[in-house]
């Protein structure tokens, strides 16, 4: 793979309700990513926006942030999916040799929608929607399936929540930094058994921008470009009943592709920090397995051992992860932004010392039907 460097990142502080409009949030992160990269909007020769018509409540939702992201000035496109897919498109546009610097911006304001209705719309209109399936209760099916198959416990899942909310205290962008215990999680209100309130990510407004550049520009303009070494994406079957919800084959396929590109043979040893899409506590465990950080069904034990804590062998979600801040479409791009900060050594209180190789991950669709994996190096 040719070289693509990430030379600018920015995020809004994630919160339940951001009074700024879609455009204002997008403008803020665009401006801040440009400042971070030491560039101006004139230096962007193309853009990728990441907007979803359902979450934004309008058709051609990318129109709302076209001007705010300078997308009216240059060739542009809109990826409708997690921000990691937007970053993938941004990288491909550079690797083509036709563009030098891509601005990628994702945003959403969940405060303006009804998430259960919006996620109910993921499901088949004729056969499934009437059941009232949404992101939370479908994920509950997955959590139960995973726990049953591998003997993972609610306590082990709760530990992920405890870890991530605590990690979030060191992240100024996080929506929910919390001091909680496993018992707090277990006692929290059941949303859809076995998912409890503290097993679930919040609903957040927010935006994120990254600036990707081809090699020469990246090296010339920025002292610490973070290189994209590998990317992989893959989608599983659509109907929940067509999948084994306890398994992570699509993620494993995406990870395999990314690792092959990056020359990673032993992810647990070679990756220093991972930012994964933990929309629910159990998901972090499943994604660890799909990423090959441990064998299938072994993630619970890994969390028990403390290996994924900030001081452990492979810290996962030092940012607090999606459990601590969940702006849909944005959260995967935010994982990339956080990984970049780690590899630059600019993650301050949440820094993983000496991080050289990072993994960033995003999901798409119900119960992680789709996955997109990035391997980054400094």
């Amino acid at each position: 793979m040719g070289k693509v460097g990430i030379i600018g990142v920015a995020q809004t502080k994630y919160r339940r309700y951001n009074p700024a409009s879609h455009a204002e949030m997008a403008y803020q992160v665009t401006r801040e990513a440009l400042e971070d990269a030491g560039l101006t909007i004139e230096d962007m020769d193309n853009t990728v926006t990441v907007c979803n018509d359902f979450w934004d409540g309008r058709t051609i939702s990318c129109m709302t942030i076209t001007e705010a992201t300078g997308s009216h000035r240059v060739p542009t496109t809109n990826v409708e999916g997690d921000g990691t897919y937007g970053a993938l498109m941004g990288a491909m546009r550079i690797l083509s040799g036709l563009h030098k610097v891509t601005l990628v911006v994702a945003q959403s304001k969940l405060s303006e929608g009804i998430p259960s209705v919006i996620t109910n719309a993921m499901f088949d209109p004729v056969y499934e929607r009437v059941l009232g399936v949404d992101a939370i209760n479908s994920s509950a099916l997955q959590m139960r399936s995973y726990m049953s198959k591998y003997g993972v416990t609610e306590e082990q899942c709760a530990k992920v929540s405890v870890k991530n909310h605590r990690n979030a205290k060191a992240n100024p962008y996080a929506h929910l930094p919390l001091d909680i215990t496993v018992e707090d999680v277990l006692k929290s209100r059941v949303l859809a058994d076995p998912i409890k309130l503290l097993d679930a990510s919040p609903v957040s407004d927010g935006a994120c921008a990254i600036i990707m550049a081809e090699e020469e520009t990246a090296k010339k303009r920025y002292s610490k470009p973070i290189w994209v070494k590998g990317i992989g994406h893959c989608a599983d079957a659509y109907h929940l009943g067509d999948r084994d919800l306890a398994e992570v084959d699509a993620l494993a396929s995406a990870a395999r592709r990314a690792y092959k590109m990056a020359g990673i043979k032993n992810p647990m040893k070679e990756i220093d920090v991972a930012e994964v899409y933990d929309a629910f506590s159990y998901m972090e465990l499943m994604w660890m397995e799909g990423l090959g950080l441990c064998g299938r069904g072994e993630a619970g034990a890994m969390v028990d051992s403390g290996l994924t804590e900030l001081g452990g062998a492979l810290p996962i979600n030092p940012s607090g992860g999606v459990l601590s801040a969940h702006a849909v479409q944005v959260a995967g791009l935010a994982r990339i932004a956080e990984a970049v900060l780690q590899l630059r050594g600019e993650a301050n209180a949440r820094q993983v010392e000496g991080a050289r190789v990072a993994l960033a991950h995003g999901i798409e669709g119900a119960c992680g039907q789709g996955h997109c994996v990035f391997v980054l190096e400094n």
């Binding site: 990318c62 076209t66 409708e80 999916g81 036709l98 989608a235 592709r257």
Partner: protein, 388 residues
Amino acid sequence: MKNRVSIVGVGQTHHRSKNTDCKGQELISIAVKRALESAELNMADIDAIVIGNMDHFESINYVDMWSVDGSGGYMKPIMKVTTGGTTGSAVGHAAFYHVASGLFDTVLAIGWEQNSESDTTAAISTCFDPITEREFCGGAIGPLAAQYTAYMSKYGATEEDAALVSVRDHNNAAKYNPYAHLRQMITTEEVMKSPYISYPIKLLDMCPRTDGACAIVFAGEDRARKTADRPAWVLGVGDCHILVNVADGIGLANLPSLEAAAREAYQMAGIINPFKQFDVAELYIPASTAGVCWMEALGLCEEGGGPRLIRSGATEMGGELPINPSGGVLATNPIGATGLLRIGEAALQVMGKAEQKQVDGAKVAVATGFGGCFWSDVTVISSLPQLN
């Protein structure tokens, strides 16, 4: 460009106003199967998929994930691109970049829409700002109508000029395109007598809404040489989203985004004299009026020269530069597919596979996409990997 990109297969459904015999997934699968047949490939040969439609028409969220059964995307890399009316061409360009990046070798682009399931105009109206625009912006038709009144005022173009475009496209579809939705021979009298929808656009000036799908197989050089005896090469792409507020576009007699996108694509492809260099054009003309006032943006005529170009007959089949042998958007408009169909039809032309629609000896073609807020995409396609 580091990696050359070709098109080796095109498939589409037989477009209808309402498909009562298949649902969205099946519609997609028909187009995919036909594209694979056209390329003589299997699903196993496909490295990645890009799909697009406009969500609000079918009301399905995460179509990239939903469509897996129909797209053949099970356990494959898939992503969704959506940009409004330009979705089809944006999907084509996204597939182009998948291959051009060198990360994927054989990529399936899918555009589809089941417009029969939507209130099309109401859905389109939600693209406008809820506070400042939505009350008065009449979907797609109003802004197009306003644009032509400006062009008529500035250059003396007439409704009859636009009617000629409508007759050309409808009759091409009737005569040459068995896939087209509308296949009726019409006359300029019939167009002029049809009722106004939004002055000066009349019923027979306007595109239909259609259920349909299109799939195209994009391929890198290796795959191209192995499969197609005569692949179509994508020489240039341009995308431009220059306006976001409808008020900025109404009153403009021209289409700046098309000019900008054409400039970018032409430069990449080496097109310096479009009217002479193109053998055929598949243009996204959603209303006949656009077929008059957008020609100069593509460099096909002088400023204000749309009426002269149309009246000259040069854009008819058999003319110097046939436009829309397929019948274009006026005959067939499954919105998420429409822009991709233009690319597909242009590719079929230079591959010599356009059957009844074939323009003899076509070697260089241009395809455009339109949508959003006066947004445009341009694609230059040739039977040669580069122009001499």
